[in-house]
């Protein structure tokens, strides 16, 4: 069992190591990269949502002065029907390549068709307008239920539904059907005194990172390819580029620059292989940047979905059965997060009888990408709203019904795994005890809502190397790009082991040639897994230092102990030396010390959150104002509480945006009509109150310090919490996202 230890570094709030660079403008992000002789690349994108490419003529573009190279899908190696395994499951290589540059068909407006490198970006843009593409325009399919109809236009002639292991004979837009079943749902519903079944629709939303995608590539004469870019994972860029270009990973070096937000959207590559192709063609370094419309139209948002939820309970409030139907839009190619959505939908609760069906469906929208707890927010919007309705029906407090049914250690999730020690109940108890929940809330048009959420978190591979300096500091080398303060949270775990201050660690995020394999910054894994590797590397340093102290004192290693930053001799000689002083004597005791740690830990602890929100609904305009927001979350152990709070606050606010404003608005031709930050309305600080982030600590037994991932789960509860608050305010159940003023007014019967 874990002890509730008093840590020296963990749980404190040091200034982050990369902080000064980031407040002075000195930190270099992908677009900031400069090189002598740099060319600028731009991508030509499809104006149609669905069309066959008849021909592409680049000759006029190539003739424009200043243009140095043009590439199309013809310049990509033939992908054939190869299936690539990129660490996150099998991916059809043709789909992967076609999403980089379309070969035979364009499947969404914004689909990349060709790219130009020129001496300046304006010339590259002009050249794109001189590329002549002949299209045969086809009818687009823009909504998941429409795409599932047997007579819907097909995106892929060869795509056949895989259903529970069987592949169908006829082509379809439904790529796959999955199912999870636990107990006897029919029997469970028969035992229920109240059954609520509702249908939900959620819109397509984007991660909305402020930094557009970017990539600069250069080929050396010896075939070495270097890519400087903003990415959530340098190694996954290396793998994807290697597969797409059929080029050996040993000849590719990816240099991760600082990254301006990702939230899951900067794992897939888009322009990185294109920059490499242009660099190869021109022999010069080429920088390719997206503009904001490119980001909205040409990169993966998270799916729109249709969800049906049915839940049953006894009159005492015990949930007896639950059924979920989730149909997710994958976008142009298969691969929506319906899998995780189906795994998370009822995961906060211990329900004996459950059936969940999930469908992955292609539509003429950008190929979806992960977005913070991918799939779970859509699913929770349905399940947490239905649970609220059940509680209301039975006259039970909504937090009380969560306490009555909450999942605990040993309970089985509907998709199979048994929960280890989890902290769901603790989040509900903390929400219930919070002054917010007992504050008066009686004004007209004011309402309060609650909702909970689950996200598993992942482990995966991480590598860390520690080099010990003579002055008692350490240089920590890692491969996890730092999107939200992970240099600090990783460095602090090494510092704790070695009994040194956080400021005595110099963390560096380095390129793929300079550190061991490290998976993406995603899945709420970085502080957990790379922190774990830092812990292991520091333990290795500690072991070597003990050997040196033993040598110095001519005692057996077993007689040297290390505590509070001091090595001391036990059993006989009275010797003592601080970590710092021993660092100065490494040369004379055998040379430099390097410690390394590599992990692929299986003990990622699931994360739970429970949110409470107060809203005011303006019945005249349909606008919903967030009056007060409290977000409770189990962090396991908060290494740097400020950045844990930051994750909770940021996730909650993305959820508020998803709940109230954000969606891709399409016209009948399949064109996104709001591809700018003005029209795709993300929350500004004027839309929000302070977000009260409450950290609960139920240590994860799968990590030496009890860390759970914290990044993703805070986006799961907000949509349902706000829907439940709106119901409390005006007595209307909202079942469609976003709950924008027009939908509110429709629900109120005013328009």
């Amino acid at each position: 069992m874990l002890e509730n230890k008093d840590y020296k570094v963990i749980g404190t709030r040091p200034i982050r190591h990369d902080g000064v660079d980031k407040v002075t403008g000195r930190a270099l992000y992908g677009a900031d990269f400069q090189a002598a002789g740099l060319l600028h690349g731009r991508v030509l994108r499809s104006p149609h949502a669905h069309a066959k490419i008849i021909s592409i003529d680049t000759s006029r573009a190539e003739a424009l002065p200043g243009v140095k190279g043009v590439v199309t899908a013809k310049d990509l190696p033939d992908a054939g029907d190869k299936v690539a395994d990129l660490g996150e499951g099998a991916v059809n290589l043709k789909h992967l390549c076609d999403n980089i540059l379309a070969s035979d068909k364009v499947l969404y407006k914004g689909h990349a068709v060709a790219a130009v490198a020129a001496t300046n970006p304006h010339i590259a843009e002009e050249a794109c307008t001189l590329i002549d593409v002949e299209y045969e325009v086809l009818s687009p399919v823009l909504e998941v239920r429409q795409a599932m109809e047997p007579d819907a236009p097909l995106l892929h002639e060869h795509l056949k539904t895989t259903s529970l292991g069987e592949t169908a004979d006829e082509p379809s837009n439904v790529a796959s059907h999955i199912q999870h079943k636990l107990g006897d749902p029919e029997k469970g519903f028969a035992e229920a005194d109240v059954i609520i079944e509702r249908e939900f629709v959620t819109g397509t939303v984007h991660q909305g990172y402020i930094e557009p995608h970017n990539a600069t590539a250069h080929y050396n004469a010896d075939g070495q390819l270097t890519i400087w870019c903003s990415t959530q994972g340098a190694f996954t860029v290396r793998e994807q580029v290697a597969e797409i270009l059929q080029y050996p990973i040993s000849k590719i070096k990816v240099v991760p620059m600082e990254i301006g937000g990702g939230f899951g959207g900067k794992i897939s590559v888009y322009i990185k292989p294109v920059a490499a192709m242009l660099a190869k063609k021109t022999g010069k370094p080429v920088k390719v940047l997206m503009n904001r419309a490119d980001v909205f139209e040409g990169t993966g948002p998270t799916p729109a979905s249709f969800i049906r939820v049915k839940m049953g309970a006894t009159k005492e409030g015990k949930l007896t059965a639950a059924q979920g139907y989730l149909a997710f839009e994958a976008g142009a190619y298969p691969g929506s997060p319906v899998g995780p959505g189906a795994m998370c939908i009822f995961a906060p609760y211990s329900i004996e009888n459950v059936i969940i069906d999930g469908y992955d469906v292609v539509v003429n929208k950008p190929k979806t990408a992960p977005y913070r707890a991918p799939g779970a927010p859509n699913a929770a919007f349905g399940s947490e709203t239905v649970l609220d309705e059940i509680a209301e029906h039975l006259g039970i407090d909504p937090l009380e019904i969560r306490l009555m049914n909450g999942a605990k250690e040993g309970d089985r999730r509907a998709d199979g795994p048994v929960h280890p020690r989890i902290g769901f109940i603790e989040t509900v108890e903390a929400a219930k005890a919070h002054p917010h929940y007992s504050a008066p809330n009686g004004k007209k048009h004011h309402g309060r809502g609650v909702a909970s959420g689950y996200w598993f978190n992942i482990g995966l591979e991480s590598s860390v190397t520690i080099n010990v300096n003579a002055d008692g500091t350490i240089n920590l080398v890692e491969g996890s790009t730092d999107i939200g303060g992970t240099r600090a949270s990783i460095a602090m775990q090494a510092a704790e082991v070695l009994g040194i201050p956080a400021e005595s660690v110099n963390p560096s995020v380095v390129d793929t040639n300079s550190v061991g394999y490290t998976a993406v910054t995603g899945g709420s894994r970085t502080t957990y897994a790379t922190g774990y590797a830092a812990y292991e590397a520091a333990q290795e340093v500690k072991r070597q230092m003990i050997t040196r102290a033993a040598k110095l004192w001519e005692v057996d290693e077993a007689n040297v102990q290390f505590a509070d930053g001091e090595f001391s001799s036990i059993n006989g000689k009275e010797e003592q030396i601080s970590f710092r002083d021993l660092c100065a004597r490494l040369g004379e005791t055998g040379g430099p010390i390097v410690g390394s740690g590599t992990v692929n830990p299986g003990g990622a602890g699931g994360a739970y959150a429970t949110h409470v929100v107060d809203v005011e609904v303006d019945e005249e305009t349909g606008k919903v104002e967030i009056l007060r927001y409290t977000a409770v979350q189990d962090a396991g152990k908060a290494i740097h509480p400020s950045y844990v709070e930051g994750q909770i606050q940021g996730g909650a606010v993305q959820g508020i945006g998803w709940a109230l404003n954000e969606e891709y608005i399409y016209n009948a031709e399949g064109e996104m009509t709001n591809a700018s930050f003005l029209d795709y309305r993300m929350p500004t600080c004027l839309d929000l109150p302070m977000i009260d982030a409450v950290i609960v600590e139920v240590p994860n037994p799968g990590h030496p310090y009890g860390v759970r991932g914290v990044g993703e789960v805070p986006i799961v509860p907000p949509m349902a919490a706000i829907a439940n608050a709106i119901y409390d305010a005006i007595g209307v159940r909202m079942t469609e996202l976003p709950m924008s003023p027009d939908r509110l007014l429709k629900a109120l019967g005013k328009i």
Binding site: V20, T24, R292, G646, T684, L688, M690
Partner: protein
């Protein structure tokens, strides 16, 4: 290619000369011609505020100002804010409040906050939120940014 114009301006107190095409924005000039990459491009149409700089004492989106328009004017960018051995109080407040995550919006927020505090040294929370509504941050939910600006105001 259009003929490049000669422009003389003041950037962070230093006289600077550069050549630029008439169509190049101040943001492009700062980043591509002068290598002052602290101002960031998030949208290039004035919606996100990541490129905020102060032009003759007034907060502007540098993506919406042409480079040639800065002739004879004075530009303050994030690179000019800190003294050689001391951060500006707003920069300190951002670090102490953990008011940044990825940091891409941070230079814009700090310049925007400076413009606010230059004209209103003691703003209310609502005034801070109103003023900063032209800067988008997707990571923080703004809570710690607003606190940082209020703290900086109290410290100045």
């Amino acid at each position: 290619m259009a003929r490049r114009s000669h422009v003389q301006t003041t950037i962070n107190g230093e006289t600077v000369e550069f050549l630029c095409e008439p169509r190049q924005s101040l943001l492009e000039v700062l980043r591509d011609e002068l290598h002052l990459t602290g101002a960031k491009e998030g949208c290039n149409n004035g919606n996100c505020g990541a490129c905020s700089v102060i032009l003759d004492g007034r907060l502007v989106n540098s993506c919406l100002v042409l480079g040639v328009e800065t002739e004879g004017k004075s530009v303050e960018t994030i690179e000019g804010l800190a003294a050689p051995d001391k951060l500006h109080p707003i920069q300190d407040a951002f670090l102490e409040n953990a008011a940044l995550q990825c940091g891409i919006c941070t230079p814009g927020f700090i310049m925007s906050a400076k413009a606010l505090l230059d004209q209103n040294p003691n703003p209310t929370e609502h005034e801070v939120r109103y003023w900063l509504a032209g800067n988008l941050c997707r990571c923080t939910g703004y809570d710690k940014i607003v606190r940082a600006v209020l703290d900086a105001a109290a410290a100045e």
